[in-house]
Amino acid sequence: MSIRELVWGGTINVTLTVDQKLFIPGVPAETGSLNFRIRRDSYIVECLPRLLNQLQRYMVGNLADILNHCWLECDSTVLPWFQPVGVQYDLVRYDAILQRDEFLKMASSVDAITVWRIKLNYGPTLPAGVIPLIRQPNQIESYWMHRWKQACFILNGTSKQMMSLSRNDSKKFWDSVRNGDSNDFEYVSAKIVPTKPRMIPLQLHDINDPSRIHQPRAECENSSGKKTSLLDAVATTLPQLLAEKGQLSSSTTLICQGIIIDADEQLERLYPPMKSFDGFLHVVVVTIL
């Protein structure tokens, strides 16, 4: 399998616990727990209606109202709905990625299971800093479209490629994300992503400050014609992570799509296979303080 196929096909096992407040009194607590597998390259809120539909018969109130007043949490930290599942997972479970080799050794001898436990909370008011979802699912689709427009502008210097997509193609594009159809996705994204991009849509997520997303200006080549590496982009936004001689400090690791990547990898080479479904290259910066 190619890297692209592996990136697209990555899934995570999730156990979602739904707030007990949402159930009719007397419904056993285990009913509110859902086990499912979700693609790393997707939005979790996008499939939330499909998930909650399964539980609707046990729930008080209607689904539309519930969806407007709920938010997801992992270990009491709110998960922003507008980030890809994979990025959210890497941000909270980076330790599992750093210790993957030991885990795999251990898993071959004993029965191990990897589950991401998250909680769906419900309340009349959302916690501070949570962007409300009021127009499900259109809000998610238009947000994602805007992301691609942004990415398209960064790549080409214009959003024309994105704006001139036919109605059919843009529908096909969103459906490919919803249904996990990689052929359609590659077909439409090939119309947007140029073979020789000028800049790379890159986002850096710092585990020590996850609410702040860094979006450095990442040109493929610098003025002297040298290919830009990931390290160069990190250096411009997070210079405190650099050790002497311009190298990344030993306590810092860069994670993309759930794997550790080299800091001196060229952005131009890294972007096409490792890009996320929203057109951006998401890199999680892990610094052990």
Partner: protein, 130 residues
């Protein structure tokens, strides 16, 4: 790049352990509890909106009754206060009545005594004229 391919395979090995226990959302193969679609289930599901409406109605009735009860309680407290006040007033009046009755009796005896005195003096005058 080959290194990344191996790393991604390892990632999937680690993250997708026993993923067969977790149905995929995108497949639509997610189903929990009893199968949806059996006739009995459809019957129950069709009843659901009705039941929900009923539940909502009942909830409003309960809140209404609760409000009513609260009003009744406050009214009762008020009435108790009025009763207490009236009892006090009655006690005061009773005391007053007793005092007045005693005074009246005294007056009557005094008046009788006076009348007797007058009668006696009149009798005495009559006797002297004879």
């Amino acid at each position: 790049m080959e290194r990344y391919e191996r790393a991604l395979v390892d990632r999937d090995r680690a993250e997708q352990l026993h993923s067969e226990l977790f149905p995929a959302v995108a497949d639509g193969g997610l189903s929990l509890g009893p199968e949806i679609g059996s006739s009995r289930d459809e019957e129950t599901t069709s009843l659901l909106p009705q039941m929900r409406q009923l539940l909502a109605q009942r909830d409003t009735t309960i809140s209404q009754l609760k409000e009513e009860r609260a009003t009744h309680m406050s009214q009762q407290v008020h009435l108790n206060d009025v009763i207490l006040g009236l009892t006090l007033e009655r006690n005061v009046m009773e005391d007053k009545l007793k005092v007045l009755q005693r005074e009246y009796k005294e007056l009557v005896t005094r008046w009788l005594a006076k009348a007797q005195q007058e009668a006696d003096s009149m009798n005495r005058d009559v006797e002297q004229h004879r």
